[in-house]
């Protein structure tokens, strides 16, 4: 998902406190920042929320790439609004992570140094306008699958951020589907572009859920803590079942010869993505890893003088106000 393969941290806390904490979670109580929590819970959440936030921010790049080249003013306004939302989503999530005691600058530096990850999906390029439709339809569609259950996550600030995000996310998926529908019902050439975008984004979208985690220890701990609500396989299946009829409606073909309806399970059987490709992308060898990191590093470095300048101005103005107040007294 936007947070893939988040390793849960071991915890060395007092067993009695741990049991009381687990009982609160099992009772459906929300954990708030000032409450006692196991160190492992705190660290795992920082990693997961941080990775999620970084994905929202890096996720602006493949789409921002097309703002100036949108085919109509309406599409341009829509894409601009969507990319602005992604920035907002990143900010909600950074704020949630900060309540756990990590600073914003620290999170940013961990992304820029490569110590923290972002979703593998954003290392794929958006080559043409149909890709913008595919990103909204498939990538945001896959994100929604994971984010809807996370609204019930045990950590209060994370849950509240997810609720805000989910309210806005539906627009993202619908504008993407609307865009690709127009192309799929357009000229032969546009239709071919829509099919090509689906061909390229299908498997990377399935990878967003991460490899099967049915035997993963990390997953078991995260699920007990209600940091993770469903297994990767459950969410992937749900995504496929939802998306296949949407593709059929458009007259597009899912690029999977193994795709068959399984009456017994009431869902589609489908082929696994190439997991070796997934691990390569995570290692930094995807098509756009270098570009994405360079863009973030450049934005951070180029903005330094501006951030510092505004802070210096704010400090001076505060000092002037203080001096004026003293003089008046």
């Amino acid at each position: 998902m936007y947070a893939q393969m988040v390793k849960s941290e071991a915890t060395n806390d007092d067993p009695e406190k741990l049991a009381a904490f687990q009982a609160r979670i099992d009772a459906g109580e929300k954990i708030e920042p000032k409450d006692w929590m196991p160190e492992g819970y705190r660290k795992t959440l920082i990693r997961q929320i941080g990775q999620h936030a970084h994905s929202e921010i890096v996720g602006q790049l493949p789409e921002g790439n097309w703002i100036t080249r949108a085919p109509t003013l309406e599409r341009k306004a829509i894409l601009l609004a969507k990319v602005q939302d992604e920035a907002g989503h990143g900010l909600y999530l950074y704020c949630a992570a900060e309540t756990l005691g990590v600073s914003r600058d620290d999170l940013t530096e961990q992304l820029l140094s490569g110590r923290m990850k972002y979703s593998s999906i954003f290392n794929y390029p958006t080559l043409n306008w149909a890709d913008i439709g595919a990103v909204g339809w498939l990538v945001d569609g896959a994100a929604i699958m994971n984010q809807v259950p996370l609204q019930r996550t045990s950590f209060g600030p994370y849950s509240r951020a997810m609720i805000r995000i989910c309210k806005e996310e539906s627009f993202h998926q619908r504008q993407g589907y609307d865009l690709i529908r127009v192309m799929a019902q357009g000229s032969d050439e546009q239709r071919a572009m829509a099919q090509d975008a689906l061909n390229r984004f299908w498997y990377p979208s399935l990878m967003m859920f991460g490899p099967s985690d049915k035997d993963s220890v990390h997953s078991t701990q995260s699920m007990a803590w209600k940091i993770k609500i469903n297994t990767n396989d459950e969410l992937r299946q749900k995504f496929v079942d939802q998306t296949v009829p949407q593709a059929h409606y458009l007259g597009l073909t899912i690029p999977d010869e193994g795709l068959v309806w399984n009456e017994a399970k009431g869902g589609w059987d489908f082929s696994e993505p190439d997991w070796s490709e997934f691990y390569e992308v995570l290692k930094g060898n995807g098509p756009c890893n270098t570009d994405r990191m360079e863009a973030r590093q450049k934005a951070w470095a180029d903005g330094q003088w501006f951030r510092d300048g505004l802070m210096a101005h704010a400090n001076k103005a505060a000092a002037r106000r203080k001096a004026a107040k003293v003089a008046a007294e």
Partner: protein, 94 residues
């Protein structure tokens, strides 16, 4: 040394007649920019008619461990609720 912008808490009045409600936080160098950022981050879809921004450092919060001493005494004061009193049916609605 880090020159991070300070943290602000954002409160929004959703509609006329309602209280301002905490919606989240953000970083900004000063109050004026905190207000602008709050507008961009938290009201992109008509979520509010008024915004408050407060430096997070200025908020005093109760500790989770104070929950008992702060709130338990009122639990015991059942006579503060109207349902504590039996009013005879003959008296009618009160």
């Amino acid at each position: 040394m880090s020159n991070e912008w300070p943290l602000w808490e954002v409160f929004i009045r959703g509609q006329h007649g309602l209280n301002h409600r905490h919606v989240g936080s953000l970083h900004a160098p000063d109050a004026e920019l905190a207000m602008r950022h709050a507008r961009d981050v938290y009201t992109r879809r008509n979520e509010g008619v008024s915004i408050w921004v407060v430096p997070s450092s200025e908020i005093t919060a109760s500790a989770p461990s104070d929950k008992g001493p702060l709130f338990e005494p009122s639990n015991a004061k059942v006579y503060r609720h109207p349902t504590f009193y039996d009013i005879p049916d003959e008296v009618g609605h009160m």
